[in-house]
Symmetry: C2
Subunit: 374 residues, 2 copies
């Protein structure tokens, strides 16, 4: 397990208190991040869609794991004692009877049904469950996961430092004529060499007046003098994410790009100044939006929660009234159109404290860094 | 897009023929692999659970994409013309009305509800859809994706060669005293250096008599002389996977391990001999199981489909009567207990042809490779 057992026991206790307050008799978990959050079971095996994994957290008592046989010995090395395996994949009844049995003594079962949630099991199997009294536990789960423990924050800090080190290597990697996909490959290697365990996320863009989108995979067109190049990475350590980007210009940059970069830097400063316990995500959004004016990009929000997933609730957006709390780890991610061109995006990762937020990322420079063409 | 437009048009045509035969008026797609399969839109942005992405394939006419604004410009560079964006994440109605409208003219809508399927949208939003006549399209989608085109097979071949090259580097990487997590990091770098675009999957195990499981992340205990070390990787090129493992012993190996390795090699040979069009997955399973006898490991199946995902249907298992077809890409993955110890697993990737299968991976050696301790 990635944390001491006490960490998982605390998570369970807090979940049980929240269940009691919400009138739920149990929580039903079927997605990777939530399964890991409560069980401590981390495996890339979730990449395979073949087998479902289930966890029941009762309001009182111990968690029940209903899992494929292939995972039972691994799970047994952790802290869950009640493990009910079956030989998956099964032709008929792929864990459904076992799951229904584990649920049978609970009247009202909470599960994630709301914002950002998914159902990681076949709908046919979900419909076959005899319990029909499922209620939405998405807000409950989001609130639990929003505030991180000191041990979680330490992991975030470490992976942010690793990725900051890797970004510091970019001036030694990026060369004129290099294809974006070559740059991505070299940057992933730099992240791994700097100590990242994995690089589940790397997107980016380039262009003389910014980039057209922020979610593309790299292409094989060469990076040219005057391009601004952005890479945005979610690297991990023990399954804990960083999520931030950096911009670099090759050789020189258009004035509009330089000005936009500096405006985004100031928007982030405004976000840092507003990021206090008690402020809402909407407050944070407006603090940054006020600096940007009406030149926003098309990303729709200016940051989000961060943790076991690249993005977690809440959203730094005008309608999200989630109140920031000490220990919350979030990203500040203002974006802005470049006059006559594409867009630029900045991103930093912070943790909310009782004073100014703690920067987990090495702060981007105010001026757009320009890499010399050799 | 990763393939010429004609490839996607063919996929749509075949899907439309299958819909007609099954009496479906449209297909509803909400998961990453299926969305990419039909639209050509590939992005790691699916790592973020925040935004849903929807695709409707009508039985006649053009696909309709209902997608977050952030993805619309990227999607528009592909072949889908009918793109209906909304500003996601939205406080209310996160694409649901747009989706319901796009569905409104279809009476019977197929969607994946069966084996290996998930619902990548909030249950609350799914329940809010007015169309209630959803039928299970899992078998239809599985059949379409089972057989690969020459262009897909070429990508599989390329990533399998890249990963084979990286495995050939392991004797130069693995050292006594190295922690598994260090080995994993170096091996990921070797994969990227060999030309892999990404390494979404790497698991493994070690021990003097095999390993206890095949899905664990690496730990920081040192690899010792006499250990057999296994790494199993799913690396990608244009989002297309390889999925195979290799075993190495450090310095020397127990006779039981050597014998098990050789038995698994022979089991794979039997699988290769049985892998012909017309044979079933069950036939393939029994061909390998007969060599292994009653010493099977606990993996439960001996291979699976391979493609846009690390594992796809079907399963090479005693109950799966899926008939192998020319162009199907599958893994052969026999596993076996080591007498008095853990287990070993072998894995190769092949494509079914009208003659003997074509090996995509560089065949593992019959004898367990032993890396000298320097």
């Amino acid at each position: 397990m990635d944390f001491p057992q006490a960490e998982y026991e605390t998570r369970l206790t807090l979940a049980q208190q929240a269940m009691a307050a919400a009138g739920m008799d149990a929580l039903f978990i079927n997605t990777e991040a939530e399964f890991r959050y409560f069980s401590g079971f981390r495996s890339l095996f979730w990449q395979s869609p073949t087998r479902p994994w289930y966890l029941i957290l009762p309001r009182r008592g111990d968690p029940i794991a209903v899992v494929p046989e292939i995972g039972a010995p691994v799970l047994a090395r952790g802290w869950i004692r009640d493990i009910r395996p079956w030989p998956s994949p099964a032709e008929h009844d792929d864990g459904v009877s076992l799951l229904a049995d584990a649920m049978s003594k609970f009247a009202t079962i909470g599960m994630a049904m709301g914002r950002e949630s998914h159902l990681r099991m076949p709908l046919n199997d979900f419909h076959a469950l005899t319990c029909k009294n499922f209620v939405d536990a998405s807000p409950l789960l989001a609130a639990l996961r929003f505030v991180k423990s000191p041990a979680e924050i330490a992991l975030h800090a470490k992976i942010c430092t690793i990725a900051s080190d890797a970004f510091d290597r970019v001036p030694h990697i990026l060369r004129a004529g290099m294809a974006m996909e070559t740059l991505f490959r070299h940057f992933k290697i730099a992240l791994l060499e700097a100590g990242a365990e994995d690089v589940p996320y790397l997107v980016g863009g380039r262009g003389p007046l910014g980039y057209d989108d922020v979610i593309s995979p790299p292409d094989n067109t060469p990076i040219q003098g005057g391009d601004v190049v952005m890479m945005d990475t979610g690297a991990t350590l023990k399954g804990t994410f960083c999520d931030f980007d950096r911009n670099f210009a090759l050789g020189y940059a258009a004035d509009a790009v330089k000005r936009t970069h500096e405006t985004l830097w100031r928007a982030t400063e405004a976000g840092l100044a507003a990021a206090r316990p008690g402020a809402t995500c909407a407050d944070l959004f407006h603090a940054m939006a006020n600096v940007i004016g009406d030149g926003g990009g098309n990303v729709g929000r200016m940051g989000h929660g961060l943790g076991l997933q690249l993005t977690e609730t809440p959203s730094i957006i005008h309608w999200d009234r989630t109140v920031l709390r000490e220990g919350a780890v979030i990203t500040l991610e203002p974006s802005m159109a470049v006059k006559g061109g594409g867009m630029l995006v900045h991103e930093e990762n912070i943790v909310i404290t009782d004073g100014p937020p703690r920067l987990l990322t090495r702060r981007a420079p105010r001026e757009l860094p320009i890499i010399a063409i050799n």
